[in-house]
């Protein structure tokens, strides 16, 4: 079942003539992880804002085309320090901020918050003051805060940007788990090496428009590598002058050598 459907979505930010998104058509189904890749300014973040119903409702601007959302969405923005409520004494309170705004009963808030903290391995930090956390810890808290609101459509904008390698691995596992539970996940990331294991589909955005859609194999495509959107293995393979098709992962490269 489709959680999000965009048909010919074109979006202009306020006071701009050139659209940030051009005729984008995309569907994200429940249980599916779709990754948006592209160069800076390609429109991935804007697409997430449109999907979250924040653009143009909050950002201003103009939207043409159709956007249909079946589920309530939650978006994790790339800057955790601007997403903290500033109204919490502890990490637990910070994660509970969103569920409390949904006017849930307190026992349901507690259940969702504890579950989200556990999933992000944040239980040891539950009583810490959020202002004392590192960037990576705060990013995990914000992700937990969004998940505690139990959105059907989860949108991530560069979720691993502040995380260390271990934190990023936990996050990628969690995203697969969310999909397994039936949530739809739309993800904008430059962590391309993680996508073969995380994404079901990859959408390549260029100058606000969809250039290609496919499986993660797209990231070993010659054109994607030329555009700097190949995985590390594919990029090294290409830089070595070895013939295509380029391998996507280390495992693929090993297979090719044998």
């Amino acid at each position: 079942m489709k959680s999000l459907t965009l048909e010919g979505a074109t979006f202009w930010y306020p006071a701009t003539e050139s659209p940030a998104l051009r005729e984008v058509s995309l569907e994200v189904a429940q249980g599916e992880v779709v990754a948006l890749v592209g160069a800076l300014g390609a429109g991935a973040s804007t697409l997430l804002l449109v999907a979250a119903d924040l653009a143009p409702r909050v950002t201003g601007g103009r939207l043409a085309g159709a956007v249909a959302r079946r589920d309530r969405s939650g978006i994790v923005l790339p800057t955790p320090w601007t997403q903290a409520s500033g109204m919490a004494f502890t990490v637990w309170d910070e994660v509970a901020f969103g569920p409390a705004n949904l006017a849930w009963p307190t026992h349901e808030i507690a259940r969702q918050v504890d579950r989200a903290l556990e999933r992000l391995e944040l239980i040891p930090l539950a009583s810490r003051d959020p202002t004392t956390l590192s960037g990576g810890e705060l990013q995990r808290v914000i992700i937990a805060a969004i998940l505690a609101m139990d959105p059907g459509l989860v949108l991530f904008d560069e979720p691993a940007a502040e995380l260390d390698a271990g934190g990023a691995r936990t996050l990628w596992r969690l995203i697969r788990l969310l999909a397994k539970e039936g949530k739809a996940v739309l993800l904008a990331t430059s962590a391309l090496d993680a996508l073969p294991d995380v994404a079901d589909r990859v959408v390549w955005l260029e100058d606000g428009a969809v250039r290609a859609v496919g499986t993660p194999d797209l990231l070993a495509d010659v054109a994607a590598c030329d555009a700097g959107l190949g995985t590390s293995v594919a990029t090294v393979w290409r830089a070595s002058g070895l013939p295509g098709p380029y391998p996507l992962t280390v495992a693929h490269a090993v297979q090719r050598w044998r």
């Binding site: 804002l49 979250a52 924040l54 409702r57 909050v58 950002t59 969405s73 939650g74 978006i75 923005l77 800057t79 601007t82 997403q83 409520s85 500033g86 109204m87 919490a88 004494f89 309170d93 509970a96 901020f97 969103g98 569920p99 409390a100 705004n101 949904l102 006017a103 849930w104 009963p105 307190t106 808030i109 805060a145 969004i146 609101m149």
Partner: protein
């Protein structure tokens, strides 16, 4: 009375009543009394966090008043302004925005209105912390905030511009974040830990209100 354990509404009531009484009660005795209480409250939050900010903020007003008025008028208005400044400094230092939101939501206020008020009160320490980070960053680039007037003006410009621009930029991002976290107009938030509001504090708030009304009536009789 540091204010740490008082209900947020009581803190607000005290911070509002003191300046009101300062302007209503006859000068200079009324102003002296309220300024004394205000400065004592500010001092209760610590010298660096309470008293010095209050004194340093009020000092320029005294200077300008002295330039514009005679000494009795300067004392009368200066004490009233000192009361206002000290009360506000004490309130900002003593009031925890999260407790205010909880108290307002528990009292039936809209969560977005409560957040707006609390965010306004917490803006001072947030901007102060950001200004400190910007000064440190500018120092790393070789800009010194010390020296002559010209050097200090250069440093001020290097502080003010990024401070204002980053604050404006953050407003946009924060609006997006709060929306996605469910803080939208008209919501009825679940209070998580509403602060206790003892009967004695509720009575104190009524006493403050009645004292202001009584002083006002006396003033015009």
């Amino acid at each position: 009375m540091t204010g740490r354990r008082l209900h947020p509404f009581t803190l607000l009531a005290i911070a509002a009543a003191l300046p009101a009484l300062a302007w209503i009660l006859p000068a200079p005795a009324g102003g002296a009394a309220t300024a004394g209480i205000g400065l004592a409250l500010a001092a209760s939050r610590g010298l660096r966090r309470g008293l010095w900010p209050a004194v340093l903020t009020a000092a320029p007003f005294w200077l300008f008043l002295l330039l514009l008025h005679d000494v009795p008028t300067t004392i009368a208005i200066g004490l009233r302004i000192t009361t206002m400044v000290a009360s506000f400094v004490w309130l900002v230092a003593a009031l925890e925005p999260a407790r205010l939101v909880e108290a307002m939501v528990a009292a039936g206020w809209s969560a977005s209105v409560a957040y707006l008020l609390a965010a306004t009160l917490s803006a001072v320490p947030v901007l102060k912390a950001r200004a400190k980070r910007i000064v440190e960053a500018q120092r790393c680039r070789g800009l010194s905030p010390r020296g002559g007037i010209a050097a200090r003006l250069r440093a001020l410009r290097a502080l003010a511009l990024p401070l204002v621009l980053s604050a404006l930029h953050e407003v946009d991002e924060r609006a997006l974040a709060l929306e996605t976290r469910g803080l939208v107009p008209g919501i009825h938030r679940t209070p998580l830990a509403p602060p206790p509001d003892p009967a004695v504090e509720r009575a104190l708030r009524w006493v403050l209100l009645l004292a202001c009304l009584f002083a006002l009536i006396r003033r015009f009789m």
